[in-house]
Chain length 145, copies 2
DNA sequence: AGAGTATATGCAAATTATTTGCAAATAGCG
DNA sequence: CGCTATTTGCAAATAATTTGCATATACTCT
């Protein structure tokens, strides 16, 4: 069921963090390790339950740094709260969420090839550094209900 | 500067609303009209300043109905608050935002053709009803700074 | 390894964003 | 026009995020 990721060790996350010129701290390692155990993007509220030693403010601030360093991705699905997932150690992907029941699944679609067209369509921009893409649909159980 | 949209009249929005079996109310018409004057997605906080006669709770609730009816789209860019824009009377589009200064521009890219691939990649879903796609980049002024 | 400095963290409180309960108002139906 | 389901205002609750400041810690340099 809960297909785990290859699961690096903390040292390895340390290298990943350092390579982005972000300080390697105990909390950031814990956070990345916790994220590596999640199959889907997780909210800060839920993450506090998994990284109990880490203050909520620290979570917010650390996740912001990690997002800036592109080690973590911020995902907006339903609901007001952002969710976070590791952006390394797994292929680039997006999500689809059921608008009825909230089910989330990964989607292996990439629109990076569209970035060139984006730049053509918006002459005000010099480069594209990232994108967020989420799909919303109806899952089979909900469709047949 | 603030390139206005073709600008329907309220009666016409009324038809659009009714056609989605959502009640046509004074506030919903005001909200849609206000959105029609915006060139870019606007937060609820800013919208309260434009639709002063409308209580903030009503804004939240009305926008939710209008989003459900697909008359309005909810957009997540930087910052915690969602932004809203009319989804009718303008071609389907997305956005790009500068990660340095926050500048937002429309992008005429469509990934609807990917929906088929999405369904192939996620057998748990019966259909795709919507998607959100936002790009982040660096605008030319920021790039040369 | 130790000292110094810039950055990260904890804690508490502020701010911002969103949701909710309930009574009064109103849209749409017949 | 009267009836009923839905919407709205208002105030308060809850949730999400940010901030200030004192202390702790990572990293650089020696």
């Amino acid at each position: 069921m809960s297909q785990k990721l290859p699961n690096r060790d903390a040292v390895s996350y340390g290298e990943a963090i350092r390579s982005k010129s972000v300080r390697v701290t105990k909390h950031r390692l814990l956070i990345m390790t916790a994220l590596s155990h999640e199959r889907l993007p997780i909210s800060i509220r839920d993450l506090t339950k998994k990284v109990r030693s880490c203050n909520e403010s620290t979570l917010y601030r650390s996740l912001e740094s990690l997002v800036d360093a592109q080690l973590v991705r911020r995902v907006h699905l339903d609901g007001a709260a952002a969710r976070y997932e590791l952006s390394i150690d797994r292929p680039h992907h997006h999500h689809i969420q059921c608008v009825r029941c909230g089910l989330i699944q990964d989607v292996d679609i990439c629109v990076r090839s569209k970035e060139e067209a984006v730049l053509r369509s918006t002459p005000a921009f010099a480069s594209v550094v990232d994108h967020s893409l989420e799909f919303f649909g109806i899952c089979k159980p909900c469709a047949s209900r």
